[in-house]
Symmetry: C2
Subunit: 251 residues, 2 copies
Amino acid sequence: MTIMPYAKPVSEASSGQVASLASQIGRVAAPLRSQVLEVLREAILSFRFAPGQRLIERELIDMTGVSRTTIREVLRELAAEGLVKTIPQKGAVVVSLTPEEAEELYEIREVLEGHLAKRFVERATDAQVVALRRAFTQLEGVVERQEGTVAVLRAKDVLYEVLLTGAGNSALRATLSQLHARVSLLRASSLASGPDRPSEAVGELRELVEAVEARDARDAADAMVAHVGAAAGAGIEAVRSSGHALATAAN
Amino acid sequence: MTIMPYAKPVSEASSGQVASLASQIGRVAAPLRSQVLEVLREAILSFRFAPGQRLIERELIDMTGVSRTTIREVLRELAAEGLVKTIPQKGAVVVSLTPEEAEELYEIREVLEGHLAKRFVERATDAQVVALRRAFTQLEGVVERQEGTVAVLRAKDVLYEVLLTGAGNSALRATLSQLHARVSLLRASSLASGPDRPSEAVGELRELVEAVEARDARDAADAMVAHVGAAAGAGIEAVRSSGHALATAAN
DNA sequence: GCCTGTCTGATTGTCATACAGTCGGGCAAG
DNA sequence: CTTGCCCGACTGTATGACAATCAGACAGGC
């Protein structure tokens, strides 16, 4: 895992209209830091770093090839995101959720995603509703054809993306992203989920999509709440059983 | 503003049962970093650093007396909290909210605080309900006696604290704290609020307290939503008028 | 054999310094 | 007045260093 300093001639864009140009020009500027942040975040969420594992600065330096300064700043950001916990004199440790904490997070998600659904119904354009249906159909296909957990997660992400965009509240998007990231710390190696949570989820989401197409905000919110609630049940159940804080891809 | 490195011979305790003892022993260790973080956060929220103001590392170093390493790590944390925005090649700038962003934040607060009220009704002990009433009475007194904005804010904080504790969801607490911090970036120097938002707020909160005492979760949630909604209206209105992103202590 | 005091290595917390890259603004030339 | 160059101010990143702390090994005493 080596990060070439300024390897990719990409640019994180400074702002506004220039952004699009910047990428064409090949201006970089994507601070090394943000690249490292992405790499580590990804590593945590994909469980290459297991929950509870210590993240030793020296090792991260060796892995990434960047300096300690950079690593430390990244660790602060990860800590603020809730993916890592910093123990004084001990350093960073990948967060591992207790069932109680998981429950709390799901509780918040339920509320916010209910709102998300409601807002989507209220604000989304017809095109966005169509996009939602399309994303759902896609997900449905992936689940039916049993293309594997990763594919399912990717399809779900797309669907979520549609919802978040359609709801038009970037603060909500940011908040939910963070919650999702933290919750997904549950989904560990033991990808042996419950019976077949995926197909159940599809059923729940179908309700959502139909409510949205009917432009019924309340039904949509209810469907979403039900969905998250079910996911929470499955997820937390899995955590409780599988010993520590490892769970499944309940959602 | 000088932070004595390890000024207080305190140490942040390692864990568990020792913690309580540690404080007696006077062991600290509160990493310098966290002290600086608090100082800067406070400085931002109290508008000693105005929204939009650049936070130049060198100056922060001079102000606090800590090294650049520490300052930079703190800035990353503040950025993750949403109090500061980092512009590539330009550094940290105190966030200044646009009316739209403010609206988005209030929207989320509305949802989450409605839930907070509901949860409080469902989970709080009788003692906590009494504490809520007490906090409210206190606030009421402060507002009536016109003891000033600071006193009002402090009284509100107490009331919130009771709610958050009673609701028993620490993730919710963390999320809301962050939202509150960001929203309060609106409340700038121009403390000339609307007509008399404070007393209106008291009225709204009375509804809340009464609903709670009646153990009516739905009413409590509604009251809270109404309260936040009103605060949002006042706050955002103030922002729009007072030019940039300065507003009032609407709430 | 079990408990306790001590030593040591591994790591973090913090600091000082250095240097390239970038941005903004001033200054000079056309 | 516009264009282009130069400089100073900062950030982004790297490096080396040192004190403090913690965990575990180790040895000595009861």
